[in-house]
Structure formats: C-alpha cells, structure tokens
C-alpha cells in the first residue's frame, strides 16, 4: 500500500472515532442518575470530612444545590462522551449513553455500562466546562 493511502485510512479511522464519540447521548433521569446527583450534592455541600475529601479529589467547588442538575442536552453529552472516551484505553472508546451531571461550571460524568476489563470499579470523571478531564475516580 502506498503512503498516501495509509494516511487516508488513518484519517478515515480518526473521523470514525470522532463520529462515534459525537454520537454519545444523555441518559434519562432514573434511580441511578438520582444516586449520582445525590453524591455530587454531598460532595459540594457536606461538611463531613470524607465528602470534603471527595470534593477535593473530584476537583469540584462548593456550589449551591441549584447549580447541580442532570444534563439532557445531547450535544453536551456528545462532547462529554468524547472526553470520557479519551480517559479510556483505545479498545474501550465507543459511543455511549451517559449520565452527565452539571456541578457549577463542571460536569461529573459516568457510564454505568463501562466495561473495565473485569475490574472492580466504574469510572467517574470530572470535566471542565471545556470538556477537559480533570479527575478520574474508580467507584
């Protein structure tokens, strides 16, 4: 195969990856999203040392309850999905259905279907408003 053909194939693969990431969607509100929102609220409001530790670990700030909400905008979830995928190993990057919780100017993102290769934990990430991964928790 000639070099320019290889380049074309690589670009196609990258576009496919982006396309798949962009196709990530928001999960609807349910018991699981309620749990994630509750956890986020405790992190940013609780005075318990353990929750304060969690707030610091996830790089969240103290914000009022009202600044915490489940995101339902698929364009936001698509960008969150792309960022979430970037935290994962190559073979695990694909389109997702995500819980994205806005916490002030940050997002807490979790995909409860994450296949972590048999590991114990699920990945929860904190994203900046620019969808940069700030913290990764294994919960």
């Amino acid at each position: 195969m000639r070099p320019h053909s290889l380049l074309a194939l690589a670009l196609t693969a990258a576009a496919t990856t982006t396309l798949r990431a962009q196709s990530s969607t928001c999960r609807a509100a349910d018991d699981e999203s309620a749990r994630l929102i509750s956890a986020a609220k405790l992190m940013v409001t609780s005075t318990d040392s353990r929750w304060i530790q969690a707030r610091n670990a996830y790089q969240l700030s103290v914000v009022p309850d009202t600044a915490i909400a489940l995101v339902t905008d698929d364009s936001v979830c698509a960008q969150a999905g792309s960022a979430y995928n970037s935290a994962l190993a190559d073979g695990l990057r694909h389109e997702r259905s995500l819980y994205v919780v806005r916490v002030g100017d940050r997002y807490v993102v979790e995909d409860p279907s994450t296949d972590a290769s048999g590991a114990e934990y699920r990945l929860i990430v904190t994203l900046s408003s620019a969808f940069v991964v700030l913290a990764k928790g294994a919960a």
Partner: protein, 574 residues
C-alpha cells in the same frame, strides 16, 4: 573415705548393705559389701554429655522376664535353688530388677490324710518377702553371676514379709560393671511330719507360685538442675541431682566440661555435696556421677538477657510466644510471671521452665522471665504486649470472634500496608452459619492467579470449608484508603499513563460492581432454596455491608458502615 579416680573425687557410700542373710534350705544370698578397693560396681567417671531436652523421667528398657517355679509341696523343703534366668545384663549398664507375684501356701491333702488333726499355721499367700518366719521362708533372692570370672553379686531388695506384705519388690537402680547373668532363687518353707514308719516324711503344705523376675535397663535416672541456669561471670549456681521421685541422689562426684571454645577461669570443684554450689566464669555442662547413672545440666554464662515476644500487639484470643534470649541466643527461663496492666483482671499464665512461653492473650500486660527458680535471685527480663480491643459493630456476623480472626488474616493477605500498591491484593472469604448451632465461621478463598489490587474472585478454600449450603455472606477487601491512587497495573482500562483514585463514597462504600454482584449472586440452602446474601467490603478505613435489594436511593447514606478504628474507645476492627 574419699578416693580419687581419674582426677575425680569419689566417695563409696554402700556399706549399709554389708551383711549376710541365710535362707532356709540350700540357699545363702550374700548381699553387697563395698570398699574403695573392692569389686563393688563403680559408676563411670567420664563426663557424659547430656543431650538437650533430657527427659525428666528415667528411660526404662525391658531386658527380660523369668517365671519362678516352685515344688508342688514342701516335703523336700520347697525351695528353688539358684537358677539362671537366662537374662544377661550388658557390661556398663544401669539396671533394676522387679519381683512380682506371690506364693500360695495351702494344707497338703496327703499330710491331712496321713496325719489327721494336724494344724497348718503358715497357710496363706506371700509376696517376694516370704512369711517372715524362720530362715527367710519363701523369700526370693536375686543375684548376678558375672559371665567372665564367675564373680557373684547379690542384688539387695527392701522387702516386707507376711500375708499382708506387698506382692512385689524392686531393687534400686544399680550398675553392672561387667556382663552378668541374672540368677534367682527362693527359700523354702519348714514344716513336715515323718513317722519313720508307715507314711514317711510328708510336708505340711502344697505350694503354688505366680512370681516373675523382671529385669530392665535404666538410663537417664539422674536429673540435674542448675539454678540459675544462666548467670553472669562470677555468679553462683546451685546444682542438684535428683531421682525420678525428686529425692536427692547420693553423688559420688561432680565433673564439668566447658562449652567448645570457652576458655574461662576454671570453677572450683564440689566434692560429693548434693546440692553443689559453684561459682562459674564460662558456659559449661555440669555432671553428677552417681550409683544410678549420670545426669547433667548446662549453664550459660552471659552478658545480656532479654525477653522477646513475637507480637508487640495482639488481639484477645491470639497466642503470643515469648522467647528469652541470652546474648541473642534462645535460652531457658526457669520462672515466668505475667503481670496484667489491669491489676484487677484475673489474667495469669503458668509456664514451666522452658525456652518459650506461649500465652493466649486476654488483656494487655507484661511478661517477666527469670533465670532463677527462686524469687529474688538471678536475672530477669520483661516485655510488654498490648492487646488490641476489637470494635463492637453490633453486626452479628462481624462481632463473631471466629469470623474476626479470618478477616484479620484476610486483611493481612491483602498486603494493604505495602507501600508498593501493585503488591496489594483484593482477597475473598465466605462466611458460613452452622444451621444446627447457629455459629458463624469464615474461610478464606485465595485466588492468587486472578486477584489483583483492584479485582478478585473466590479461588479455592484455604482451609476445610463448611458446606456451601451454610453460606451466609461474602467478604472481600479493597486494600486502599479513600482517594488513594490505584496502581496503574490494575487500571489497564484507562488511557495509557492515566490513573484513577479509589472512590468509596459515590456508591456508599461498596463499588458499583459490588452492588451488581450482591443483587445477582445466589446461595442455595440445604433445602435447595435460592437466596441472596450480603457482601462485606473491607477497606483501610471502614467495613461496608452491601445488603441485597437495598434501594439505590439508600446506597449513599444508609449502607451499614463500620469504622475500622475508633480512637475514642480505642479499638480497631477486625
């Protein structure tokens, strides 16, 4: 009168046996006479090293038995002449001879018929001491007949006589300097009538015997103690030689042999005194030479004495092993004392003189080890052990001691304190409940080929496990503190070079997958009914209990959570 053999002072002590005894009929059994120049058996004088752990009881090896026969009547006196038992005692042996059984004397029917109206005063049953009448009637004698030279040595016994006397007798432990065959005999019993005409001579009695002579070799019959068993140079030690019964043994001489390489000042001798007190300057073995053998004790001369414990902290029920050490080498403490920190506690321990003392811990305290058996003498050393109080959880499974022990082991096997986090391991155990007794137990199920710092599955039981139908809970570990970074090796699902922290709060303690598992896992009871079981998760800070079918909304704030450490008590779990 003392005399010297091979540079060792020896005193003969057996003159008390110097007399002769004449028996009825054919026998004369001379007993031993002794002097310095005589042929009385003499104990060896070469120091005999005593192996460590010398038994405190004699070692007895049976050499043989011999049935003593008896004539049917005493018409011809009824004696048993000296007869070889066929039992040979090897040269240089210590031996003991026992005589067991009795002779039964009954009226002779032939005499009764021939001489009606006769009386038979000696009817009865007699032990080896005989009747006590006449010339040692029915008394058993034993002697040694040297196989070379033909010398004969009588074996003395202390015997009682008469019908109420014991039916057994034994000799002291004695030394056979040369090989000898054991011979035995028995005196007869008087009483016969002879009309010199029609009936002739007829004995009064019929005789029957169950008597057996038994010969045994005896070793380690002398037990020497050294008190203290360890001293500093220039201190005094008391050596005492005793027999199996704890009685002082007559010592012919003492000798010593310094340990290899020891070139300390020689101690003064002790003649034949027992106990013997000596001032020591170097480690040595001190030996008593007696008529029943030799016995030795070792004394260590040291400069440093300390007591080690294999655990500085322990849980109630744990066994702690204490080891006294002299100059870093394990030693024997002659006395131990446990002093509980809580002086009102009834917490004592009795340990014999030994190189270790094992104590099942009840409460904190201090163990003392002493080098002397007498209070106020000898050196001592102490070590304190703190008993860790286990936190009460009010969870029936977690508050079971048998379960706690396994959980402690599970945690130890998790290597949770290893600073190299890659070396930590999740570990799994199952908890069982005996349906008959209601008792809980737990067994680890290690799975070294699968488990990692971040994942685990049950492998094979580490110990005999109860039936799976008794299963009531699963336990596994998360060997991290909250928000510790997980090792990259077990987060291979993250982008290369990326890492995540351990988050035990977002799902209420157990991980998301733990909740998946607790809601999907099924146990099957003895009736074949499926049921869900709770899952305990132990991390560095807490124990969490994932209860099946807990509503998701309850996970965060209502998962039962038990602190691993409570400084207000203080206590720790498990």
């Amino acid at each position: 009168m003392p005399c010297s053999i091979s540079g060792v002072n020896v005193v003969r002590r057996a003159n008390r046996y110097a007399r002769l005894v004449r028996l009825t009929g054919l026998l004369t059994l001379p007993l031993i006479a002794a002097s310095c120049s005589g042929d009385r058996p003499v104990a060896p004088t070469t120091p005999v090293p005593t192996p460590a752990g010398r038994p405190e009881r004699s070692v007895v090896t049976p050499l043989g038995n011999f049935q003593l026969t008896i004539p049917a009547t005493n018409t011809d006196g009824g004696s048993l002449p000296w007869t070889s038992t066929g039992i040979t005692i090897p040269a240089g042996s210590y031996y003991r001879i026992r005589i067991n059984g009795s002779v039964t004397v009954s009226p002779n029917p032939a005499h009764q018929e021939a001489y009606p109206g006769g009386t038979y005063p000696d009817v009865g049953t007699y032990g080896p001491g005989g009747t006590g009448k006449g010339a040692w009637e029915l008394r058993v004698g034993v002697r040694l007949h040297n196989t070379t030279g033909g010398g004969i040595t009588d074996v003395p016994f202390t015997m009682q006589s008469g019908t109420s006397a014991p039916d057994s007798a034994r000799s002291d432990i004695r030394y056979a300097g040369t090989e000898a065959v054991v011979e035995a005999g028995r005196a007869g019993i008087s009483g016969s009538t002879n009309d010199n005409c029609c009936n002739g001579n007829i004995g009064f009695y019929t005789l029957a015997s169950t008597q057996v002579v038994s010969v045994e070799l005896v070793t380690d019959a002398v037990h020497v103690t050294a008190d203290p068993s360890a001293v500093k140079a220039g201190q005094r030690v008391t050596f005492t030689a005793r027999d199996d019964n704890g009685a002082l043994v007559g010592v012919n001489s003492w000798s010593y042999e310094q340990d290899p390489g020891v070139t300390a000042r020689e101690p003064a001798g002790c003649w034949w005194n027992n106990p013997c007190v000596a001032t020591l300057y170097g480690s040595l073995t001190w030996t008593a030479h007696t008529n029943i053998g030799t016995g030795s004790a070792h004394v260590t001369v040291y400069s440093d004495f300390r007591l080690d414990a294999d655990k500085a902290e322990a849980y109630a029920g744990d066994t702690v092993t204490f080891t006294p050490k002299l100059d870093d080498k394990p030693a024997v403490a002659l006395r131990w004392k446990w002093v509980p920190s809580d002086t009102s506690a009834h917490d004592g321990t009795i340990c014999a003189a030994d190189s270790t003392c094992k104590k099942v811990m009840v409460g904190s305290g201090t163990m003392w080890a002493y080098l002397s058996s007498a209070g106020g003498q000898g050196d001592s050393a102490a070590v304190t052990v703190t008993v860790i109080r286990v936190c009460i959880t009010n969870d029936s499974i977690l508050d079971t001691q048998a379960v706690q022990r396994v959980l402690r082991s599970l945690w130890v096997h998790s290597n949770a304190d290893d600073p190299t986090t890659e070396n930590r391991r999740e570990q799994v155990a199952f908890v069982y409940r005996n349906p008959a007794t209601g008792e809980y137990s737990a067994v680890e199920w290690p799975n070294p080929s699968f488990n990692s710092p971040c994942k685990s599955l049950p492998g094979s039981p580490a110990a005999s496990a109860p039936p799976m139908s008794w299963l009531v809970a699963e336990v596994h570990t998360h060997p991290f503190h909250a928000f510790d970074g997980l090792p990259i090796g077990c987060t291979g699902w993250l982008a290369v070079g990326s890492w995540a922290f351990y988050d035990p709060v977002s799902y209420g303690g157990p991980s998301g997958r733990d909740w998946d598992q607790v809601n999907s896992m099924r146990a099957v009871d003895e009736q074949g009914n499926e049921h869900k079981i709770p899952e305990y998760v132990i991390d560095q800070d807490y124990v969490y209990k994932a209860v099946p079918d807990t509503p998701r909304s309850q996970w965060l704030l209502n998962t039962p959570t038990f602190p691993r450490h409570d400084s207000s008590v203080p206590c720790t779990f498990p």
